[in-house]
């Protein structure tokens, strides 16, 4: 896979605050790459550096091998779906979508036809002649998407493009965006703070926090092999607890769980001592004769799942998810249960 975007130790400072601390990674051509992180971690800042709205303070960004420092935004083969849409208020929906085509010198008929197609794709054909102010937030977001896709850029930057949509539409758009990306071969750099969105759509994910990339990998890598507490906690649900590590070798650690049970699990840490252990709730099951005993504290009904919150001996909380199935008896609060940690449930973190 060739490289579309090569980000080399980029630092971005705004006065005294540093929004990006030496961020570096490569995004492959035709990759669906996601920047995932909480609000304020620098996702938009990084996108703006790629699009050319901000100059990097240090480092380089290469687009298909070419250093783009100093290249004006209008000369970069990159389009953006803005977080706040930024639709042109004086142009109708179809003229908004056709704007980039007009700038590229496409004739009126051709660009109207193409813009019409794009609107069809985002299910807004009926709204072609409306003004942006007459659309709902979700509709505006879809216009922004169509507008950015119309000129067929080599790279599409999407800044939380689905955040204003309701759940049903968001789910439908996820599938559509993904298949669109596969069809067009455009490299997508997708920003979100919604981990579910990131996990379902991305080829690879960069998890960011406080201006730093914490981990890069496929959804599976990151979910099952988080390197640190931030990633483990941010991606999915997890139980974090401090444990004693007696030995570490070859990426496997021997740890003592609260309550005294000894466990062998994969480790990101490399030295024995006290470390954090992550236990995924869905990999813990209720099992007669399980190795861990705990006391049920609360049971939360979630529809497809039931969350059982327990405490290990010594008061350390451990919650688990069980499928809401007729075959499984859900224990009542106060009951003592025995639990089984499945393969890959636990992972020792680096920090």
């Amino acid at each position: 896979m060739s490289t579309a975007i090569d980000i080399r130790s980029v630092v971005k400072r705004y006065g005294t605050t540093t929004a990006l601390h030496s961020v570096g990674f490569e995004i492959g051509d035709n990759e669906f790459f996601t920047l995932l992180g909480p609000s304020g971690c620098g996702k938009t800042t990084l996108l703006r550096c790629i699009a050319g709205f901000e100059d990097v303070s240090e480092g380089q960004i290469l687009l298909f091998g070419q250093d783009i420092a100093g290249l004006e935004p209008n000369l970069r083969p990159v389009n953006t779906v803005f977080q706040q849409y930024a639709l042109f208020p004086h142009l109708s929906v179809i003229d908004n979508v056709a704007f980039g085509l007009k700038m590229k010198g496409m004739a009126l008929d051709a660009r109207r036809a193409r813009a019409g197609k794009m609107l069809e794709m985002v299910h807004l054909s009926a709204f072609a002649d409306r003004m942006p102010a007459q659309l709902s937030g979700g509709q505006q977001q879809r216009v922004a998407l169509a507008r950015a896709l119309a000129p067929e850029p080599k790279v599409l930057l999407l800044d939380e493009p689905l955040s204003a949509l309701d759940l049903k539409l968001r789910q439908a758009m996820r599938v559509e965006l993904k298949s669109l990306q596969e069809q067009t071969g455009i490299t997508f750099v997708f920003v979100t703070h919604d981990q579910e969105e990131a996990l379902t759509m991305s080829d690879r994910i960069a998890v960011m926090s406080q201006g730093r990339v914490q981990q890069i990998g496929t959804a599976r890598d990151i979910y099952e092999g988080p390197v640190n507490r931030f990633v483990a906690d941010f991606i999915g649900e997890t139980n974090l607890m401090e444990v004693d590590v007696t030995a570490i070798s070859d990426g496997m650690a021997d740890v003592i769980l609260p309550g005294g049970h000894a466990l062998r699990c994969p480790a990101a840490a490399t030295t024995p001592g006290r470390h954090h252990l992550s236990i995924r709730p869905e990999r813990v099951s209720l099992a007669d004769g399980g190795e861990v005993t705990a006391t049920v504290e609360r049971v939360v009904y979630l529809g497809t799942d039931v969350q059982v919150m327990t405490r290990l001996p010594g008061g350390v909380p451990l919650s688990l998810r069980v499928q809401n199935s007729a075959r499984i008896a859900i224990p009542a609060p106060g009951a003592s249960v025995s639990l089984h940690l499945e393969e890959g449930a636990a992972r020792l973190l680096a920090d």
């Binding site: 699009a51 209008n74 930024a86 042109f88 109708s92 704007f99 980039g100 700038m103 950015a148």
Partner: protein, 278 residues
């Protein structure tokens, strides 16, 4: 309520324009169209010849419209960049800049116009300075020219252009410029295709606020201009002064002027409504 007080003088003026003039100023309550007849038609020295179109006043109107339009364009060319500059300063500095813009306007308009005349007269500071530099050998004859009137109008009404445009640019969402740049628009295209259409209401308001008072201005043309730069404002002004005055005629000129302004406003409003629908 306030509308009534605004309407009364206008109605009064309209009524006076249909009255008969009294020779030492004032009116006689005899209804007649004489004032309008005098404005539009020439019936010879004794009023007994067949009427032909009277061009004197129409050409004064025409010249005034030109002068006002030129002043509006000048104010726009300077006012837009100025407003843009102020609106793009950090918020804490903006009010300082606006304050600086308005300082000259604390001085009475008459005094400002007279000072301008002193500045540009033959042995005034401007000419002395230019001759001192050796740029010119003889003083530039500025007073009593169209240029002087333009200067006066420009100087009198510039803030009326700057302030509404400033208000519009300040509200402008600069993410729109970024979106346009992202979609391959170069700088000037962004200005033409996105910025100007979005801040247009401010620009239109500024142009009206400069054009309308420029059209009826009399201080600048009176003090800085001469016989060749005579404008409507002076014509009206004269009709209400001394024994040479003609109140109904002055009122009639004012009514014609107001009608023109209203037509202009109406056309503008219709164009704006049409623009909004598109």
């Amino acid at each position: 309520m306030i509308g009534v007080f605004l309407l009364i003088p206008v109605l009064l003026m309209a009524v006076y324009s249909f009255l008969t003039k009294e020779f030492r100023g004032g009116v006689i309550w005899d209804f007649t169209l004489a004032a309008y007849d005098q404005f539009f038609f020439n019936r010879g020295l004794f009023g007994d010849e067949p009427p032909v179109i009277e061009w004197t006043y129409i050409s004064i109107f025409w010249r005034s419209i030109w002068q006002a339009a030129l002043a509006t364009v000048a104010c726009l060319l300077v006012g837009f960049p100025t407003a843009w500059f102020i609106a793009t300063r950090p918020p804490s500095q903006r009010s300082v800049w606006l304050f600086l813009i308005t300082i000259p306007y604390w001085v009475n308009l008459l005094i400002r116009t007279v000072s301008l005349k002193f500045l540009i007269r033959d042995n005034g500071p401007l000419n002395e300075f230019l001759m001192g530099l050796g740029v010119i050998t003889d003083p530039l004859p500025l007073v009593n020219t169209n240029l002087a009137v333009q200067l006066g109008l420009f100087y009198s009404y510039l803030p009326f252009m700057v302030l509404p445009i400033y208000a519009a640019v300040e509200r402008y969402n600069f993410a729109l410029s970024e979106a346009a740049a992202d979609l391959y628009a170069p700088r000037w295209t962004i200005l033409r295709e996105v910025v100007l259409p979005v801040v247009k209401p401010g620009v239109v308001a500024g142009c009206l606020l400069v054009f309308v008072p420029s059209l009826g201005a009399f201080l600048a043309p009176d003090l800085l201009g001469g016989a060749k730069t005579y404008m409507i404002g002076s014509l009206i002004d004269e009709q209400f002064k001394g024994s040479q005055g003609n109140w109904p005629f002055g009122a009639a000129v004012a009514v014609v002027l107001m009608t023109l302004v209203l037509i202009a406003l109406f056309l503008q409003a219709r164009a704006a409504a049409k623009g909004a629908r598109e």
